[in-house]
C-alpha cells in the first residue's frame, strides 16, 4: 500500500512538470506576454522590458525559457504583475482563500443534498419520487451555471428589492464596500447566491451517480444474503448498501473536480466574487503572464492531487483493487 502511494506520488512530479511546460507554451503563444507588457506599460524602457523577459523566462527558446521560469518560481523569485506591478502571492493567496471557502461550502451542501436525493430516488426506482428527483437532476445538469446565476440574481436581488423594499441577497463581492474586519453573518449573506449556483450543479451530479450506484448495489447478491439473514432494512441500507455504493463515488468526486472549478470560475465572475475565477479571467484578459503561471500551477497541482487522492482512497476502500 505505502509503496503504491509512494510510486503514484513520485510520478506526479514529472507529470506536473510536463503539464506546466505545456501550459507555459500555450500561454506564451496564446497571450503573447511581451506584447501585453508593452501594451499595458507603453512607456517602459528597453531595460525594463529586458528585465521583464529575464525574470519571467520569456526566452525565444521555449525549453530554456521554461527552466528559467521554473528556477525563479521554485526559489520564490516571483515576478510582479504587469499591471500596477503588484506582488503576485498576496493576490493569489486571497483568491485561493475565497474560492476555497466558496468551494467547500458549496461542495458540502451539494454533496449532502445530492446523496440524500440520490438515495431517495434509488429506494423506489420508477416511483414518483424517483422521477421527480431524476428529472430535476437532469435539468440541473443541462442548465449552464450562468443561466441559473442570472435568474437568481434577477429574482432575489433586483426584483426582491422592487417588491419588498430591500434585496434579500447582495449580488457581488464578499463584504459591502468599505467593510473592514470579519463578520460571519455578512459573509454568509454574500456567499448565499454563488453557493446556490455552484451547489445546484453538484447536487445534480451526485444525485445521479448515487442513484445508479445504489441501485446496482441493492440488486446485488449480498444484499439478498443480508436480507435472508434477517437484518433490519435500516441496517441493510446503511451498513451494506450505502457503504458499497459510496465507493465508486469517490473516484467521481475527484474527476469532477475540474468541472466544479469550472463552475466556480463562471459563478465568481457573475457575482464579482474575488476568487480564483475572477483572478483568472482578469489576468487572462490582460495577458498578465506573471499572474497566470502561478494560478495554473495551483490548478494543475490540485487536479493531480485530487486524482491521486481518489486512486488511493479507492484502493483503500475497495480491497478487490489490485495495486500492481
Amino acid at each position: 500500500m505505502f509503496r503504491y502511494i509512494f510510486r503514484r506520488a513520485a510520478w506526479s512530479v514529472p507529470t506536473l512538470m510536463l503539464v506546466t511546460f505545456m501550459v507555459y507554451i500555450a500561454l506564451r503563444i496564446g497571450t503573447n506576454p511581451v506584447e501585453s507588457y508593452k501594451r499595458i506599460n507603453p512607456r517602459a524602457t528597453k531595460e525594463k522590458i529586458q528585465e521583464y523577459i529575464d525574470i519571467n523566462g520569456l526566452d525565444p527558446n521555449y525549453v530554456k525559457g521554461y527552466f528559467t521560469w521554473l528556477k525563479n518560481f521554485l526559489t520564490g523569485n516571483w515576478p510582479r504583475s504587469i499591471k500596477g506591478s503588484r506582488e503576485v502571492w498576496p493576490a493569489l493567496k486571497d483568491a485561493m482563500a475565497n474560492t476555497l471557502r466558496l468551494g467547500t461550502v458549496a461542495s458540502v451542501v451539494g454533496i449532502f443534498f445530492g446523496l440524500i436525493t440520490g438515495v431517495f430516488a434509488a429506494l423506489k426506482p420508477g416511483g414518483r419520487r424517483d422521477i421527480f428527483f431524476t428529472t430535476s437532476a437532469f435539468v440541473g445538469i443541462s442548465v449552464p451555471p450562468f443561466i441559473s446565476a442570472i435568474l437568481l440574481q434577477l429574482l432575489f436581488a433586483v426584483y426582491w428589492q422592487r417588491w419588498f423594499g430591500s434585496s434579500l441577497f447582495p449580488t457581488s463581492g464578499v463584504y459591502p464596500a468599505g467593510h473592514v474586519g470579519f463578520n460571519l453573518f455578512l459573509m454568509l449573506k454574500f456567499m448565499a447566491l454563488p453557493t446556490i449556483v455552484v451547489a445546484i450543479q453538484i447536487v445534480a451530479i451526485y444525485s445521479r451517480y448515487m442513484r445508479s450506484s445504489l441501485i446496482e448495489v441493492l440488486n446485488s447478491d449480498y444484499m439478498r444474503t443480508a436480507r435472508s439473514k434477517g437484518i433490519s432494512e435500516r441496517r441493510i441500507l446503511f451498513n451494506h448498501g450505502m457503504r458499497n455504493a459510496l465507493i465508486p463515488l469517490v473516484t467521481i468526486a475527484a474527476l469532477d473536480f475540474g468541472s466544479i472549478v469550472g463552475g466556480l470560475i463562471i459563478t465568481e465572475n457573475i457575482f464579482s466574487y474575488p476568487g480564483m475565477g475572477l483572478y483568472f479571467l482578469k489576468s487572462f484578459g490582460e495577458g498578465d503572464f506573471p499572474l497566470l503561471m502561478p494560478w495554473m500551477v495551483v490548478i494543475v497541482s490540485s487536479v493531480l492531487a485530487f486524482n491521486l487522492l481518489a486512486d488511493i482512497a479507492y484502493a483503500w476502500l475497495d480491497p478487490r483493487i489490485r495495486l500492481e
Partner: protein, 316 residues
C-alpha cells in the same frame, strides 16, 4: 398456469421479429420526454430556418423611431426591445439560427474526428492509444472554461491557420474551435466501444480472412458503433451551443458585426440587463438556451438507453 406461459412465448416472438435497429427505435419512442424534445427541436429548427418569414423585423432593425430602447413586451415587440430598440423576438430567431448552426457544424466535425481517432486508438492499442488517452484525460480534467480560453487564444495566434479558421471573432472560428475541442469526449466513447467490439467473433473472422485494418475499422467497427457515436454527437452539439454562449457571455465569443447575433451574444447582453431590471432581456434568451440544451440532452439520454440494451436503467 397456461396463460402466463403463453404470454411469455408471445412476447418472445414479438421481440425476435424486430431487428436490433427497430428495437432501438421502439425503445426510443417509448421515452416520452425524448419524443417531445424531438418535436420541440424540430419545430424550433423549422421556425428558425424560415427566419425571413417568422421574424417580424430584420436582425439589425429598430422597431420604431426613437424613443425605442428597452420597451417592455407589447404587441409591437412581443418580447420587448434591447438597448437600441431592436425587437428581441426577431433577434432571438436569428440568434438561435446561428447557435444551431454552430452546434451542428462543430458537432459533425468533432464526431468525424473523434470517431476516427477513437476507433484507431482502440483498435491499434499500444503507444498511440496511451498518448491519445493521456492527452484527453488531461484536457478533460482541466476546468472547461480555462482550457477553452487557452486553446482559443492559441488557435487564434497561429497565423498559418487563419485561412481555415477565419478571424478570431467570426462564427467560423467558433465552429472550428469547438470542432477541435469536442473530439476528445467522442474519441473516448468510441474507443471504449471499439475495445469491446474488437474481441468479438465477427472481427476475428474478418481478420482471419485477411481483411485489412482499415477495412475492419470502416466496415465493421464504425457501423457497429453507430449508437454511441450518435449519443456523442448530441453531447458535442449541446456542448458547442453552451460553450459558445459561455464564451460570448465572458466577451470571447463571435463579435456582433452588422448586428449579427447568436444565443451567446443575447445571453451576454442579459448580464448587463439584470441589475437594471430589464427582465425580458435576461429571461427569454436564457429560456431559449435552456429549452434547447434540455431537449438535446433528453434526446441523447434516450438514444443511449435505446442503443445500449445492456443498460437496464434499474427501473424494473
Amino acid at each position: 398456469m397456461p396463460g402466463s406461459t403463453q404470454g411469455f412465448d408471445l412476447n418472445d416472438k414479438i421481440e425476435s421479429t424486430y431487428s436490433p435497429r427497430q428495437m432501438a427505435l421502439r425503445r426510443f419512442m417509448a421515452n416520452k420526454a425524448a419524443v417531445v424534445s424531438c418535436f420541440i427541436l424540430g419545430a424550433l429548427t423549422l421556425f428558425v430556418v424560415l427566419a425571413p418569414f417568422t421574424a417580424r423585423y430584420g436582425v439589425n432593425e429598430a422597431v420604431q423611431v426613437p424613443p425605442n430602447s428597452f420597451l417592455t413586451p407589447r404587441t409591437q415587440a412581443w418580447l420587448g426591445t434591447d438597448d437600441i430598440g431592436r425587437d428581441l423576438y426577431s433577434r432571438l430567431i436569428y440568434g438561435v439560427r446561428v447557435s444551431l448552426l454552430i452546434g451542428l457544424a462543430s458537432g459533425l466535425i468533432s464526431v468525424t474526428l473523434g470517431a476516427l481517432v477513437g476507433a484507431v486508438a482502440g483498435f491499434r492499442g499500444g503507444k498511440f492509444d496511451d498518448i491519445m488517452m493521456r492527452v484527453t484525460d488531461l484536457f478533460l480534467a482541466f476546468p472547461f472554461l480555462v482550457s477553452l480560453l487557452v486553446v482559443r487564444n492559441v488557435l487564434g495566434a497561429l497565423t498559418w491557420l487563419r485561412p481555415i479558421t477565419g478571424d478570431m471573432s467570426s462564427v467560423r472560428f467558433i465552429i472550428f474551435l469547438f470542432g477541435i475541442f469536442g473530439w476528445m469526449g467522442v474519441a473516448r466513447i468510441v474507443r471504449g466501444q471499439v475495445l469491446s467490439l474488437k474481441e468479438r467473433e465477427f472481427v476475428e473472422a474478418a481478420r482471419a480472412v485477411g481483411a485489412s485494418r482499415r477495412y475492419i475499422i470502416i466496415r465493421h467497427l464504425l457501423p457497429n458503433s453507430v449508437g454511441p457515436i450518435m449519443v456523442a454527437l448530441t453531447f458535442s452539439i449541446v456542448g458547442a451551443i453552451i460553450g459558445e454562449s459561455t464564451l460570448a457571455f465572458f466577451g470571447y465569443g463571435p463579435q456582433a458585426g452588422d448586428g449579427a447575433t447568436s444565443l451567446g451574444i443575447l445571453v451576454g447582453t442579459a448580464k448587463g440587463a439584470v441589475l437594471t431590471g430589464f427582465w425580458w432581456l435576461a429571461v427569454f434568451p436564457c429560456m431559449a438556451l435552456t429549452v434547447i440544451a434540455l431537449s438535446i440532452n433528453f434526446i441523447g439520454d434516450a438514444l443511449r438507453d435505446a442503443t445500449d440494451p445492456r443498460l437496464d436503467r434499474g427501473a424494473k
